[in-house]
């Protein structure tokens, strides 16, 4: 087991990465001082792992299982209220620990429930997808969607610890493994050229789920994200580069309706669009743009956006949180391993990017 420490002022926490971690009771014990523990999961993950974790914890803890419907469409106020209902019906008070057992949706909504139930209770994340292991487990972003936009309601709130157990990825559908790789590739693109190269060399083994390669992918991704988040916990500056591909990607997700495109798939295509615009601006070589598209393709991710009109794209991007007053900021590439947040791009080339059917 490898431990990555997230060093935030007063709110630091460890991420444990390894195989078979959920069977290690000591790991839980270290971070749960309370008697009551609510395990929040969904109806897809519950049959796989809920009983196992309940068995491990229930000798010393009172378990409240809360099973939500699966899917991004349920990441909303109504589902959040189901968590509050269950906690209050089971007389949970401030001395409760919430465990998020699931992917990004479960992590986000459980984290937000923890941030807001009785003004804040403890929580632990057990991410069950590659995407949530490398992405939502670092950074303390929690929240839910609103019909007018993704993640519009939320809070910054840190877990007590994250248990990233690679064994849980055995049951992950191929499509979701690929979606997770989109974020893994992103870390290479924004600040770690040698990691990008390592991914190019090992993408086949990763796709075959070699445990050691997966562990390496998770560790290096979390470490990269941790470095950025530690420098900018509340996303006022450098942290914005983590949104590479996200402004395009969120628009794709919203336009197609949450859940049609997986988050990672939308982000992958968003990164391809950002790379295209970067190449058009002369900031990224044609060859490097080709390498990006190639790695994304080898990870079985889409490089072609769905049918969205330019105007629709613009409307959806304007609402994105990453806008300052009325101007669209984008994260673009200045070579592989270097991303910048900028509004200093050519507006025609940007509009032209939105009009492209293939890349």
């Amino acid at each position: 087991m490898k431990t990555i420490n997230i060093n935030l002022e007063k709110r630091g926490y460890p991420i444990y990465v390894g195989e078979g971690l959920i069977e290690n009771y000591d790991l839980f014990k270290k971070h749960i001082s309370n008697k009551k523990v609510a395990i929040i999961t969904n109806d897809k993950v519950a049959p796989l792992y809920l009983q196992k974790i309940t068995n491990i914890l229930s000798t010393e803890k009172d378990i409240i299982p809360i099973i939500l419907p699966d899917g991004e469409v349920f990441k909303n106020l109504e589902t959040l209220n189901l968590i509050y209902d269950a906690l209050l019906t089971n007389k949970a008070n401030r001395q409760v620990t919430l465990i998020a057992l699931g992917g990004g949706v479960i992590g986000d909504i459980t984290g937000f429930a923890a941030a807001t139930f009785m003004r804040g209770v403890d929580f632990i994340q057990i991410p069950t997808t590659l995407l949530s292991q490398v992405d939502s487990s670092v950074g303390g972003k929690t929240g839910i969607n609103h019909q007018l936009g993704k993640n519009m309601i939320g809070a910054f709130y840190q877990p007590k610890c994250v248990i990233a157990d690679i064994s849980l990825l055995k049951t992950l559908p191929d499509k979701e493994l690929s979606a997770g790789l989109a974020e893994v590739i992103k870390y290479g693109l924004i600040r770690d050229a040698s990691f990008f190269e390592w991914l190019e060399n090992n993408i086949e083994g990763i796709m075959k789920r070699d445990p050691q390669l997966l562990i390496q992918s998770v560790i290096r991704s979390c470490q990269n994200k941790a470095d950025i988040v530690e420098a900018d916990e509340f996303e006022s500056g450098i942290r914005a580069i983590l949104n590479l591909g996200h402004t395009f990607g969120h628009a794709i997700e919203t336009a197609t309706g949450y859940g049609k495109w997986l988050h990672g798939e939308a982000i992958a295509t968003g990164m391809v669009m950002a790379a295209y615009l970067s190449e058009q601006m002369g900031w990224l070589s044609k060859e490097d743009n080709q390498r990006i598209k190639s790695l994304i393709t080898h990870a079985n991710l889409p490089i072609k956006p769905p049918e969205i009109s330019k105007q629709k794209f613009l409307d959806l991007m304007q609402l994105d949180k990453k806008t300052k007053e009325d101007q669209i900021n984008l994260v673009l590439q200045q070579g592989i391993g270097k991303a910048i947040l900028t509004s200093d791009y050519n507006i025609e080339k940007f509009h032209n990017t939105l009009l492209q059917k293939t890349f």
Copy 2:
């Protein structure tokens, strides 16, 4: 104008107390760096002050007025969602400032909206009741109710500033002035015996709304609360004494249905119950208990609880946030000007207090 500075690490802010402050644009300007400003108020306060404040701000700012239905029963998820809807429909982004124009309900729900809209935006409080000027303007507690309990959902989140304009109290109904005085009296009871004495000597003038006496009452209350909150921002220790009367009071509010009893009225009766139990324990003299009841009565506040069975009282108090595991902690008096949080009281005397019809 007098300024009280709340000194919280990285999140300090000033409370301005005086007459005619809302007409002072410079005060707003100092704390609003953004172009878009949403004023959140209710249908009772809006006709009185919304236009006035809009006029003052609208030369330099884009105003989004958001008028909510008035009352504690609307301090819930559905009303909160109305705020999110209005903000998103008006294309507000992270660079929006929310202004809470109203009493405690408006302050709590607006503060929670600010804490959670796009993971946190700026907000300013303009409390329009005595209760909210002396209570919710200090401490950063924000939140909403759940049908199973009051303030069950919320966050700690600090405003940019609080503008406590005494002139706004001219339109306050008598009943609400009294309700505010319950919290004012509380500060004397928990830690400021000389303030309690000052209140005994000036209660008549205060009831006649003498502006200078009201200003003094607000300043001294805020200063007392600020001292406590600064020592314990996240309510892990000493801050609990601010809940004098609240465990009993919340049970009264919940049992009678939100809105039947004003918060301040329930707290007043709760303080009388706490004083009674304290006297029974031998911690408070009979004479001091009499002084407490007398001042509360002179402030036109109730000292007699509604019809609630002992079991109902116990059920409701157990759910209160101030419980550690399964044991009820209470804030009790050790003389006027000294309160303690304790579970070390006689359980029969406590049950007997719940059975009393008059005090």
